[in-house]
Symmetry: C2
Subunit: 418 residues, 2 copies
C-alpha cells in the first residue's frame, strides 16, 4: 500500500465532499444522522464481533484493564452511541446564521455568515465511540471529517465507519463526507498533518504525547488541550462547608477527567481548621494527599510533595495540597503550574472573587462551584467535541458553533473603491 | 550574544506583561497610545536619522526602488503613523465585553467574557510603520506584543521601539508589553516560533516564503494569508457597464495589494462583446492580458496564458483572463486556483448571485462590487492588523475584536456535579 497516495486521495475526496456538505440542507444532514443511529442499532452483532478482534489483540498486547474497558463495545454502549447521535439531530444547525448585517455609508451590505470550517481531521485514541460522536457533530455542522483512531481500536472503527458510509449513501450525501483511515501505519498521520492545502483543522484527542506530536508536525491549524491541571483555591473568606463539598466533588466525582481537581490551594488563615476537615474527607474516600511543608506541619500524614507534583495531571485519587499566604500567591501558583483549563475559588468576599476571575487566565474560572462543570452539556451547548485550552477560535468546551467558521458576503450595486 | 537566552527572556517578560495588560484600564491603554503618538511627532529628526542607516544599507544591498520607498520614513509618514495611533484611541476597547450570559437550571451563571489573546508575535518585512501600527492595535486590546521586523528596517524599528518603550514607562505600564527583537539573526525567529509555553499567536506578514516558513516551524497557532489570487466573474447576466467599472477598479485601483483582481472570468455568452470592451480599458491603463484559447480567438493580442498564470499573484499590471461556459465552471476554477481571499460575481440574476455567494469558499464574496473593499477600514472595523484566509478564529480583515479571545467566568453558590 502506498500510504502517501492513499492519504492524498482521502484529503482530496474530503475537500470535494466539504463543498457539497457546505450547501447541504439541515434536513438531509439530520436524515443521515437518523440513518446512522438506525444502522448502529441494527448492526450490533457485527459491531461486537469486530470489536472482539480489537479486544483479543488488546489482551495479547497486555493493555490495562482500564484501557480494555474503554475499548469495549457492548449492546448498551451501542445504544448509547445511537442515542447520542439522535440528540445531535435535535440541536440547532448553526450553519447559515447571519452573525452581523451592516450597511456601509457607500451602500455596501456586508453580511457575516456562519459557514462550516471545511475539512476537519480528528486524531484520537482507544474509545471507538469517538468515531460516531465526532462524525455526527462534524456532519451536523456541514464539515467533511477524516477520522484517525488508534490502532488498538481499528477493527471497531472500520466497522462503525461502514455503517456511517451506508447511511450517507442511503440519504444521497457524498460518502466521503466522513472517512476513516483504514491503516494503522503511523506514516499516515505524518501525511495527514501536512495536507494544509485540503484540510482546515486538526483536533487531537488523547494523551499529551499524541497531542504534542500533532502540534509539532502539523502545518494545519490545531485546537487542543494538552492536559488539565485544575485547582480549587480555598480563600481565607471561604464558606468552609461549601469548600469541603466543592473540593470533594472536584476531586472525586470522576477523578479520571481533565476537569477534575489535581491541586488544592488553601489560605494559611484557615488552613489549621480546614485542612484536618478536608484531609479526613479525602482520606475516607481513598485519596492520597501530597503537600507542602506547611500542610505537613498541620497534618503530618500528608506525604511530601515534590516539584513535579505541582504540574502533575494525576487523573486518579491523588491530590497535591499547598498552603498559600495570599490570594496573589494562589493566582501566581496557578499561573506557573496550571494548564489554563478550569480553576475555582471558594470565597464569600466579592473583591477576591472578582480578582481571581479577572486574573486567572484559564478557559473556565469558577467562583463557588466545582471545576467538574467544564463540559459542553453542562454549559448548555448540547454536546461537545472536546475542550480547548488554546486562546484562538475556541476556548473551553467546543460545541457545534465552535465547529463553524464564517465568511463575508457583500452585496453592492456596482460600488468601486475610490 | 546567546540568541536562545535572549529570546527566552523576551517571551517570559512578554508573558508577565500580558497578565498586567489583561487587567489594564482602557484609560491607561489610551494614555499610552497618546504618548506614543506624541513621542513619534517629537522625535521625527532622530527617527529619520536612524531610518537613513537602513536606506543606505538598502541601497548598498541593491534593494529595488519599490522596496526602498516602502522602507523610507519621511516627516509626513511619521505624522501619518501618529495619526493612525490616535485613530486607534477612538476605537471601542472590546476587552471585558460580556458576549453571553446564561443561567443554567442548576443556578450556575455562565458568562462568556471577551479577554485579550495574551502574547502575540508579529513577524513582518520592510515597512517600519507596521511596528507602530501593530503595536498600537495589540496594546489597545490588552495583548503583549513581540515584533520581529526584517533586517532591512532594523534601525528604524529599534528607533520606533525606543519611543514606544518611553511612552509605556511614562504612563506606568510594563514596558515589556511591547518588545522589538533587536537582532537580525535568523536564529531568533526559530526560537520565537517554539515558545508555545509563553506565546498564544503568531501573525506573519510578508511574502509567501516568509509565511510558509513560519507555518512549518511554529508550534504556536498562526493566522495568515499566503497570497491573494482574487477573481471577478462576469456572468452571462451581468450589467456589462458595471462589470467594466468593477473589473477596472479591482485590477487598477491599487494593483500591488492582496485584494486586487488577478484573474477575470467571463461567461462565453457575453465574451464576444465584453472582452473587446474591457481589453481596451485595460490596455489603455497599461495592463498586460494573458488569456485562454477562447479569449485569444476574440482578441488575438491577448498573450497565451500558461498554467502558472492561473495561480499567480502578480501584484502588478498583469491580468489573466479565462472564458468559461457556465457559472459552475467559474466556481470550479476559483476553487482550484483561488486563494480563498476575495472573489466577486457581476450579475443581475439573483439565483446566480446566491449560488456564487454560497459556493465560493472565500473570506469575502462580492456580488456586484469591487474586490478592493476587503479591508478593515472599509468593513467598518476602524483598523486592521491584517487579512486572514484561514478559517479558524478570524477570517477576512482582522480588527480589534479578532485580536481578542474569551474566557468563561462561572458564578455559583456551591454547586457540585451529580
Amino acid at each position: 500500500m502506498n500510504i502517501k497516495a492513499y492519504i492524498d486521495k482521502i484529503v482530496r475526496d474530503a475537500k470535494k465532499a466539504s463543498r457539497l456538505m457546505a450547501i447541504a440542507d439541515t434536513s438531509i444532514k439530520n436524515a443521515a444522522l437518523e440513518q446512522m443511529a438506525l444502522n448502529f442499532t441494527n448492526s450490533k452483532e457485527m459491531l461486537i464481533v469486530e470489536n472482539e478482534k480489537d479486544l483479543r489483540a488488546a489482551e495479547e498486547n497486555g493493555l490495562s484493564s482500564a484501557m480494555i474497558d474503554r475499548l469495549q463495545l457492548t449492546e448498551p454502549r451501542i445504544d448509547a452511541m445511537a442515542e447520542g447521535i439522535r440528540e445531535v439531530i435535535n440541536l440547532t444547525d448553526p450553519v447559515g446564521e447571519i452573525m452581523e448585517d451592516i450597511v456601509r455609508p457607500n451602500g455596501l451590505n456586508i453580511q457575516k455568515i456562519r459557514v462550516p470550517i471545511g475539512v476537519i481531521i480528528i486524531i484520537y485514541e482507544s474509545r471507538p465511540n469517538v468515531t460516531a460522536d465526532a462524525a455526527s457533530l462534524c456532519l451536523k455542522t456541514g464539515n467533511a471529517t477524516i477520522l484517525r483512531g488508534g490502532k488498538e481500536s481499528i477493527h471497531s472503527n472500520i466497522a462503525i465507519y461502514r455503517q456511517i458510509s451506508l447511511a450517507l449513501e442511503k440519504v444521497g450525501l457524498d460518502k466521503n463526507a466522513i472517512q476513516v483511515i483504514e491503516t494503522a501505519d503511523r506514516e499516515a498521520v505524518g501525511h495527514l498533518l501536512k495536507a494544509d492545502e485540503y484540510a482546515d483543522l486538526v483536533i487531537p484527542r488523547g494523551g499529551e504525547s499524541l497531542i504534542r506530536n500533532v502540534v509539532e508536525n502539523s502545518t494545519i491549524p490545531v485546537i487542543k488541550h494538552y492536559k488539565g491541571v485544575c485547582h480549587v483555591y480555598v480563600d481565607e473568606f471561604a464558606d468552609t462547608d461549601m469548600a469541603r463539598e466543592v473540593c470533594l466533588n472536584s476531586k472525586l466525582q470522576r477523578p479520571g477527567t481533565c476537569n477534575a481537581m489535581e491541586t488544592m490551594l488553601v489560605h494559611e488563615k484557615i488552613s489549621d481548621t480546614f485542612l484536618p476537615d478536608i484531609y479526613k474527607g479525602m482520606s475516607d474516600a481513598g485519596v492520597e494527599l501530597r503537600g507542602c511543608e506547611k500542610s505537613r506541619k498541620i497534618i503530618p500524614e500528608i506525604k511530601q510533595a515534590v516539584e513535579g507534583d505541582w504540574s502533575a495531571e494525576y487523573l486518579e485519587k491523588i491530590l497535591s495540597v499547598k498552603v498559600v499566604s495570599s490570594i496573589d500567591d494562589a493566582i501566581e501558583h496557578i499561573s506557573v503550574y496550571g494548564s489554563a483549563h478550569s480553576d475555582a475559588i471558594i470565597t464569600e468576599d466579592k473583591p477576591n472573587a472578582k480578582k481571581f476571575a479577572d486574573e486567572v487566565d484559564s478557559a473556565a474560572v469558577y467562583v463557588n462551584a466545582s471545576t467538574r462543570f467544564t463540559d459542553g452539556f453542562e454549559f448548555g451547548m448540547g454536546a461537545e467535541i472536546g475542550i480547548s485550552t488554546d486562546k484562538l477560535h475556541a476556548r473551553g468546551p467546543m460545541g457545534l458553533k465552535e465547529l463553524t467558521s464564517y465568511k463575508y458576503i457583500i452585496h453592492g450595486t456596482g460600488q468601486i473603491r475610490r
